[in-house]
């Protein structure tokens, strides 16, 4: 098995810390992937920093993924998969939201590609993105009730 580097001491983490020391709530390095978890209110400022700082240049947002950890709280988890094309470095940004109040700022102003990802997460999880230009259902019909990817929504059968 090849050595998997511990990314917790990487220059990227150091740069984030030098920008704002207390912004990182949790740091995980596993399977060769670095995950930076932040509190909800820090997501948008950190996103702007990561995208615009020339030393980091995380200009490419590959994916936004939602997760429902029901019945554990904080219930919802959002994972932003970033990529710095110039430095060929990936990064995962993670935010956790309480089930009672699943709202967060949209990152569409930072990465326009987030538009459809956030819509899909709203459609399937019911997480709302403040400031999204067009937050409405996408894959399911407009009048659908419920959020299928939540864990308390059945795989099949009547509800």
């Amino acid at each position: 098995m090849t050595d998997i580097p511990d990314l917790a001491e990487s220059p990227t983490v150091a740069r984030i810390r030098s920008w704002q020391p207390a912004v990182i709530a949790e740091l995980t390095s596993s399977h060769g992937e670095l995950t930076v978890a932040v509190a909800r209110e820090h997501l948008k400022p950190l996103a702007e920093f990561l995208a615009t700082d020339p030393g980091l240049a995380f200009t490419y947002l590959s994916d936004v993924t939602g997760l429902d950890r029901f019945p554990i709280e904080p219930r919802f988890e959002l994972n932003y998969h970033l990529l710095s094309l110039s430095r060929r470095e990936p990064l995962r940004l993670r935010v956790r939201l309480q089930g009672a109040d699943p709202v967060i700022d949209s990152v569409v102003p930072v990465w326009p590609t987030a538009n459809w990802h956030e819509r899909e997460i709203f459609d399937l999880f019911g997480i709302r993105f403040e400031g999204h230009p067009n937050l409405r259902r996408m894959l399911l019909p407009d009048d659908w009730e419920g959020y299928p990817l939540r864990k308390d929504y059945p795989v099949e059968g009547p509800r």
Partner: protein, 398 residues
């Protein structure tokens, strides 16, 4: 409805519905075109007609069973989906796949890339009026489907890759079939180029059409040939090599014009590069060797062992009744599918079923660019732009 200025005074725009049933939307895609005469003022994309809840279904299947539903997403490149998913699970498990299986995976994935690009070329050309190209491309693709059927028993939904390797030992003589492909395809690609590359109608329909510059492409998360035609050389096989791709010698075609024609040239060049990779893989693949990793409890034992050894029988039983449970954690595995960056996000909670499986579908993200590409252009260009993005609704809607 907006008011636009026309030659005869102000007029209202008209909203025309394109799809979801339409021969040129490449699936069940609905585009609401707000038109001023023949010019598109705004294009609104409506998807979801093929949503079957694949990600939700994956949470109810074991890790091995989920392989079978991944085929159905990007159904023109099923082996790519299998690869992304299997690599993600193997990453989660920390499982090393034997080299022989890795090379066979590369070989078949590149054949899949050629097959997918053949469908793209055929359908894109026929949308723009070149009907013969469609028939020629599908004639070639038939040979590829025969190879997939030979090794896996299935023409399309192969599910040939497994956690830890590949499903079955390829039958004797399969390498000869691949050799035939390597011998015959290059001249066929030349035929397509002869029909299209300098064709005045083709040039008129594709040059300068659907321009998507690098800044817009990166901001919109576009990947694959659409991004490389804009001058950005992002190819996951080069940036984050997987499955031994770093041992292969191949180029990544990049162009600068960022229009439909540039994307066409990129994809045709990619087909030729894929043939190179297939030729190298054919030389690298040992004629014998393990096709699955040796990981009792995760990878099922060989059938002969299962029938004669008690331990193997117990492992077989446990794997197929309970499944195996990776340690809790999350991974995101990227691969380069024919359409761009195909990502598989997998979260495990220590149970035998995926806690969350999400596929980052390149077509889903690339389709966002359509609105930018068609604004101010003619309806006919919408057809060219949808074709040039090479979308598959199966992976868009999941």
């Amino acid at each position: 409805m907006t008011i636009v200025q026309t030659a005869t005074g102000p007029a209202e725009t008209m909203v025309l519905n394109m799809g979801p049933q339409h021969p040129s939307t490449h699936g069940v895609l609905r585009v609401l075109l707000e038109l001023d005469g023949e010019t598109v003022v705004k294009a609104d994309v409506d998807i979801g007609y093929l949503h079957t809840g694949i990600e939700k279904t994956a949470e109810a299947l074991t890790y091995s069973q989920t392989i079978t539903i991944t085929d159905r997403m990007d159904y023109l490149a099923p082996l790519s989906n299998n690869l992304a998913y299997c690599l993600a699970v193997e990453k989660l498990l920390g499982l090393e796949v034997p080299k022989r299986a890795q090379y066979i995976r590369v070989l078949l994935t590149e054949l899949t890339r050629i097959g997918s690009h053949l469908v793209w070329l055929g359908t894109h050309a026929i949308d723009l009026g070149a009907m013969s190209v469609f028939l020629y491309c599908f004639r070639e693709r038939e040979e590829l489907l025969k190879i997939f059927e030979l090794v896996s028993g299935q023409r399309m939904m192969t599910s040939y890759f497994r956690i830890g390797g590949i499903a079955l030992e390829p039958p004797a003589g399969w390498t000869d079939r691949v050799q035939t492909i390597l011998r015959t395809f290059p001249s066929r690609f030349d035929e397509y180029e002869e029909l299209l590359t300098k064709n005045r109608i083709w040039l008129a329909r594709t040059q300068g059409v659907g321009v998507l510059r690098a800044e817009d492409a990166i901001a919109l998360g576009v990947s694959g040939p659409a991004l490389r035609a804009a001058g950005v050389d992002y190819d996951v096989r080069k940036y984050f090599p997987y499955s031994s791709y770093d041992e292969f010698d191949f180029q990544v075609p990049v162009r600068n014009e960022a229009d439909c024609y540039a994307r066409y040239l990129c994809r045709v060049a990619e087909m030729r590069e894929s043939l190179k990779i297939v030729a190298q893989a054919l030389e690298k693949v040992p004629s014998e060797g393990p096709i699955k990793a040796d990981a009792p409890g995760i990878v099922p034992p060989q059938r002969e062992k299962m029938k004669t050894e008690m331990e193997a029988l117990i492992y077989h039983f446990k794997i197929f009744t309970e499944g195996f449970a990776p340690p809790p954690g999350e991974v995101y595995q990227r691969i380069e599918s024919p359409r761009g960056e195909l990502g598989c996000f997998l979260a495990s909670d220590g149970s035998p079923k995926p806690y969350r499986m999400h596929m980052r579908a390149p077509s889903f993200v690339n389709l966002q660019a359509l609105q930018r590409m068609v604004e101010g252009r003619l309806v006919a260009d919408v057809i060219a732009c949808i074709g040039t993005l090479d979308i598959v609704l199966g992976e868009i809607d999941r």
